[in-house]
């Protein structure tokens, strides 16, 4: 094979599937902090990756290099190309693409959203919500709109594993009254409502409040009307260089909450997850193999 035109990183990726366990471990170590991680001697990088030097030799040969020195020479060329090219000085995220590539523009926007959201976010709110969701006596109800329904589902799927009494409301508002009927005082309704706010969300929130439920809202910086009825609201920045809004930061908050809840009830959660594993295994036995 010819290695000339492709970067070492490319070569590693294109061969990744063919690598063995120790080799994958090494490859990851190399790609982590690439390409600087490959600057040292074969002994050094073997140690950093936790593999033996023969593994290094075998892998670089498998990748098509003559030997470690050859491999390193290619890396040096790349380092040189990266450093000596002033434009490449990381005003861009994705290499080998213009700074105006959609990936780079998106990355900039998401960074800004994340920073702004976290600046505005009150960590006390976050902690309070995490604590609310950790309380197993409270039932959880998740609901999202047309677009945000997927986020609600994502949140629900995780919480369902972590704790009992979690319910995902259908995106179809006609079925909501039945869910409200089942809500008890102290239950929590988690609403995702991003702009083009859905009118029905307010009705749902009002009805839930009447049943004594607490409301947590994920919305954008302008605020869903449902946020006014909420005990806690997360105002997330959603701007993207796109005709669509970005849910990346919202998902970020959701994942952080999942971890916070899981962490605060780990002992109980651990048991649940073990049991779940068992159930999955059983389910597999019921099925015919692929």
């Amino acid at each position: 094979m010819t290695v000339a035109s492709k970067t070492v990183s490319d070569v590693i990726h294109s061969h990744f599937g063919l690598l063995t366990r120790a080799e994958k471990q090494l490859a990851e170590s190399l790609l982590d902090n690439y390409p600087v991680s490959g600057l040292g001697s074969i002994t050094t990088i073997a140690e950093n990756a936790g593999v033996s030097t023969p593994t290094v030799v075998r892998m670089v040969q498998k990748l098509g290099f003559k030997g470690y020195p050859d491999f390193q020479a290619h890396l040096h060329l790349e380092v040189e190309a990266t450093i000596s090219n002033p434009i490449a000085k990381h005003d861009r995220w994705a290499q080998n693409a213009p700074g105006t590539h959609i990936l780079n523009r998106f990355a900039d926007a998401i960074m800004g959203n994340l920073r702004q959201t976290l600046t505005d976010l009150d960590t006390a709110t976050f902690d309070s919500v995490a604590s609310l969701l950790s309380n197993r006596k409270r039932g959880l109800y998740f609901v999202g709109g047309r677009i945000t329904g997927a986020l609600a589902e994502y949140f629900f799927t995780h919480m369902q594993v972590i704790r009992p009494a979690t319910t995902l409301l259908s995106s179809n508002s006609s079925s909501w009254p039945q869910y409200v009927l089942n809500m008890n005082a102290g239950d929590i309704l988690i609403i995702f409502d991003i702009r083009r706010y859905e009118q029905e969300m307010v009705s749902l929130a009002t009805a839930a409040r009447k049943r004594g439920a607490e409301i947590v809202v994920f919305t954008d910086q302008w605020g869903s009307p449902a946020a006014k009825l909420a005990r806690h609201a997360f105002r997330v920045r959603i701007e993207a260089p796109s005709a669509w809004d970005s849910s990346v930061v919202t998902l970020f908050i959701v994942e952080a909450l999942i971890e916070a809840v899981q962490n605060s009830t780990w002992d109980e959660t651990k048991e649940r997850m073990k049991t779940l594993e068992g159930l999955f295994e059983q389910t597999k036995l019921f099925r015919k193999p692929g």
Copy 2:
């Protein structure tokens, strides 16, 4: 002497007057294309400078380094500092919270994931996939697993607005054969498969391939087995300070793709969205006000 705070370049400059003819020659060779020129072995840089290796040793010792390896280690650190660190690391993202707050730790992790993913990502792959998805003659099929199903749904919901012929497969694998039956050659199957890879995904991918479908896989850095059958695969970093993997960066790629597709077919999409608006309005009229 301590070399810690000063760069190697500084040290060379400050000692330049004390250097002999051959050493000055070597020093200039090093400063030319600094610091990359010092990456190779002592033999290499001696040759490049046109001096002998003992001259190199004598000079670096004169500069205060223990020996050539010591000298080179310092250079490596400088190269690393120059290359990495594209965005200054925030000691804390969320104000008024300790740096160890889950939000801050999560933000660090996601930033690392995003950076790493974009470094590894081939923009040509991204563009190819965007182009594939933009082709309205190709039917689109989305499928995800237990956790990633929400991502598939999110992607699907957007693409459904942007273009016709999009289908979301149920997470339940028993219904997949019927979908495969409807696939035509050239159709595209978008698979989300993150670790704890689901065995059925490979079967699905194989079956789809037999029907002539192209496969695009979203997976993690270790790679779903289904990725081997794929025309294109996105390897996304998913590590988080959590018992769960993070889907944030995956969602990022999805959103960027949505925008890329939408952008490349804006004229057609615009019409569709207008029509859709109208349909939503109509639906509202059918309902009683909340």
